[in-house]
């Protein structure tokens, strides 16, 4: 207990100070933590040492829960299953095959191996394109139930409900176990800390904030989640292996659903998405539980339950932010967290899309595309082609199917029939991130950004596909293609690189999303009402940028717009959609003079605009 309390303020302060001299401070904190752990066995009573070993290992699993849930937003009940797998790998092999250096290594490898395979299967089940977050949670809930029931039904082999105990294990003193478990936790926390603050770690937060936008900047979200789950499973399995080796007992409860929820409780109370919070939360709660449950067994659990509900309802960020604020006030320190970190802007080495377009194809070909919901036909027989440098506007009254058509071009799963070719690649039924690889970039109708990421972080996420980010460090420079840079400079976003997106105005968010899409270096740009809700000067600015993009960068731009004045000023060609069909496909002049267009825009003067 003394140990955990001593560690709390140190770590709390550390989380606030780190940011600039990150690595040095991290090393200092780790050093202090290791010193405290080294001294632990000499100053603490034996039962306390025992309790803390277990708490260290639980905290390691809680850390993986925090990375999955706190950072990435995957509410998981299943990490206990991987802990149990690691523990049973040791228990089963030591009981049935015997103990020895070879068997010890075999058990570790087997535990990690099985956990990795199970995690891959669970990940494949839980995270597919279009899966709801609730479904992922359902699967992680099923996993521990299945694993613990299998253990229950294993008869003498798994020891059924009483588990396995009394097997031989490493013959090392309890102090050594304390140091092993403690070092394991400290090293793991340090690596996790570096990882979540690295450029790659920001992708986790981006997924939590806006999974759809991640897919549309070319990130294979499902694969990221599966990889993350596999790594977290392996870590939990190692913790379970150490647990079985030191306690020399395993039971189905350690793989069960209730333990899985207990991990969530520790993480929630400590503070999700803070790493240090869940670690300290686990240490404090587990040690005090083993203390207090002797004296007030049921009352203590009741108190935990109350605290859990109160924290979830009133303090979703847990107790860590409160402690941090208190420490900051105590030492009079300012918040030096990541928010004001602004990288230097560089020009990227552009990687022009190497499509098949040179062979005489066109940037975008839409052939007989249909979309229907049941018997309702939203699009029918849509057929057109668009070349590079063309600025093609899609107009039509509300419900004409404009946005639906955009969706069908950027996501292979959307259309009900027909073919879409991007730079002569058939998009088949490929998900959005694969379509991005064929050169498409889509900007949504309402600004679709990552609310809690800074402008610079959001732009870097958009560069993920072309410039893979570092797993451990944060780059000093941010390299962007010319077009993206132009948007940022013209709108003044370059002066707000360290600002979180949620503090930007509506127009700035629109500009940020456009800059993110352009950072993908697309050759086909889909823009859904990019000027909706913008002022006249902002609109002129965006219009100028778009014509520049088409002219200087040979982009094929497909624009959905209601403002016909705007359309007339910048388009090179116009397609009129009406009730899911192409009504007219021609130059601006042809469309503006068309009698037909005037009638469908409810008899108004089409040329004067703003009809819908």
């Amino acid at each position: 207990m003394a140990d955990a309390q001593a560690a709390a303020p140190v770590a709390g302060a550390a989380a606030g100070v780190l940011g600039r001299t990150r690595l040095r401070s991290l090393l200092i904190v780790c050093g202090i933590a290791l010193l405290v752990i080294a001294a632990g066995p000499y100053v603490l009573p034996t039962y306390m040492v025992n309790g803390l070993i277990r708490a260290f290992l639980y905290a390691a699993v809680a850390l993986t829960v925090d990375i999955l849930w706190g950072y990435t937003g995957i509410l998981t009940f299943g990490q206990s299953a991987f802990f149990g797998i690691g523990a049973y790998a040791a228990g089963l092999i030591f009981t049935h095959a015997g103990f020895g250096p070879g068997y010890a290594a075999l058990a570790l490898v087997a535990g990690i191996g099985v956990a990795v395979i199970v995690a891959a299967v669970v990940g494949w089940l839980a995270f597919y394109h279009g899966a709801s977050p609730l479904y992922g949670s359902v699967i992680t809930l099923v996993l521990p139930i299945v694993v613990s029931q299998i253990l229950y039904s294993g008869g003498n082999f798994t020891g059924s409900s009483s588990g396995l105990s009394g097997f031989e294990s490493f013959d090392i003193p309890i102090e050594a176990w304390f140091w092993i478990a403690g070092c394991f936790l400290v090293v793991l926390t340090a690596f996790a800390w570096l990882f979540v603050r690295s450029d790659a770690g920001r992708i986790l937060v981006a997924i939590r904030e806006n999974e759809q936008r991640c897919e549309y900047v070319g990130i294979n979200v499902s694969r990221v989640k599966i990889l993350l789950l596999v790594v977290c499973a392996a870590i939990a399995a190692i913790a379970g292996y150490l647990f079985a080796s030191v306690q020399m007992v395993v039971a189905p409860e350690y793989a069960g659903f209730v333990f899985g929820t207990e991990l969530l409780i520790w993480v929630a109370l400590g503070g999700r998405g803070t790493l240090i919070g869940p670690v300290i939360g686990t240490l404090v709660l587990d040690v005090s539980t083993s203390y207090l449950s002797g004296n007030l067994p049921f009352v203590w659990k009741l108190v935990i339950g109350f605290a859990f509900v109160v924290v979830i309802v009133a303090l979703p960020q847990g107790l860590m932010p409160l402690i941090k604020a208190a420490v900051r006030r105590l030492f009079g320190r300012k918040n030096t967290e990541t928010a004001d970190f602004a990288p230097r802007l560089d020009a990227a080495v552009e990687q022009p899309y190497a499509g098949l377009e040179g062979a005489g194809g066109c940037a975008l070909a839409v052939r007989d595309v249909r979309k229907q919901f049941g018997s309702l036909k939203v699009l029918e027989g849509i057929d057109f082609e668009a070349r590079r440098s063309e600025l093609l506007s899609l107009v039509g009254p509300n419900g004409a199917g404009k946005t639906t058509l955009m969706r069908c071009i950027a996501d292979g799963n959307e259309r009900s029939g027909g073919t879409v070719l991007l730079n002569d690649h058939d998009i088949l039924e490929l998900p959005p991130y694969a379509c991005v690889a064929f050169g498409v970039g889509r900007k949504f109708q309402t600004a679709n950004v990552f609310e809690t990421l800074t402008v610079a972080e959001a732009l870097r996420i958009a560069r993920t596909r072309l410039a893979p980010p570092s797993l451990w460090t944060r780059e000093e420079g941010l390299a962007l293609p010319h077009a993206s840079m132009q948007v940022i400079r013209a709108t003044g976003l370059d002066k707000q690189l360290g600002t979180e997106a949620r503090y930007l105005s509506h127009g700035m968010k629109q500009a940020l999303e456009l800059a993110m899409v352009l950072a993908l270096e697309p050759s086909v740009l889909l823009l859904d009402e990019p000027t909706a809700g913008l002022t006249k000067p902002e609109r002129t600015l965006i219009g100028g940028i778009l014509t520049d993009l088409a002219r200087d960068h040979q982009l094929c731009i497909l624009l959905v717009e209601h403002d016909l004045d705007f359309v007339r000023e910048i388009s090179s060609r116009v397609i009129v959609l009406h009730q899911g069909r192409i009504l007219l496909d021609g130059t601006v002049a042809q469309v503006v003079e068309s009698e037909l267009v005037r009638t469908i825009y409810s008899g108004g003067h089409a040329a004067t605009g703003g009809a819908a």
Partner: protein, 277 residues
Amino acid sequence: MATLLDILTTAAILYSVAAGLLIVFGVMKIINFAHGGFLTVGGYSALLITKLGLNPWWSVPCAFAIGFVCGMLIERLVMKPLYSRPLDAILATWGLGIIIGQLITLGVGREVQFVQSPVSGTIDLLGGTYSGYRLLLVLVAVVIAIGIALLLNGTRLGLVTRAVIMNENLARGLGINSGLVRFITFSLGAGLASLAGALITPLSSVDPNMGVPWLINAFMLVMVSGVSLVSLAVACLVLGGAQVLVSSWGNPILGGLTIVVLAAVVLRLRPQGFSRG
């Protein structure tokens, strides 16, 4: 023949247990993990009636009323801030389940207890004998289903509730007090859970954690049935039936996993589950 009756009665029991969870999920888009706690409350209400020496039938209205009141309190105190955070709502309601379980443990104790059944004995049916109480539960499930259907389709409250289900923002814009709809829905869900808890206790026993295994099965059934009462019935029959078959021809522990595993697989292959949509 007995197997068929087993399937039918198991499905009916599952239906009664899951109905409360379904209406809360359908209207509020929230998974109520305190559902297991409410089932336990119902079980103990039945125990209370037995202890008082009253006619066991009293446990039905009594459990419903107690559950309803618990639901009212919890909706006001805990649920309101969580409507916009569905994943957090799962956690908070799980915490509530812990609280309910611990309060019962503190008040009544942890030991397993038994409840008197309102109907005892067997009924001769189609050339065999079968537990009368289990058959009665089929009737109860039908009554619950009809009751909810009438409430939704035959009353003004039901009309308003359906409006909230389809488009809550629009409903609010039209002057519907969606807060009140949520309040009544959650309380009703809690009442139904408690009622189901009272109904299932004569079949087994009462202990403070009796709700958890039921909760998991009910949760999975609701997940595969979308938000429709009809598809819930289908899901209960198909998955409950599979459970009975696996338990009797295979192994009871695997049987306990049947619903959970099948539901997960069904959802992976067909995200809309048993609903038509």
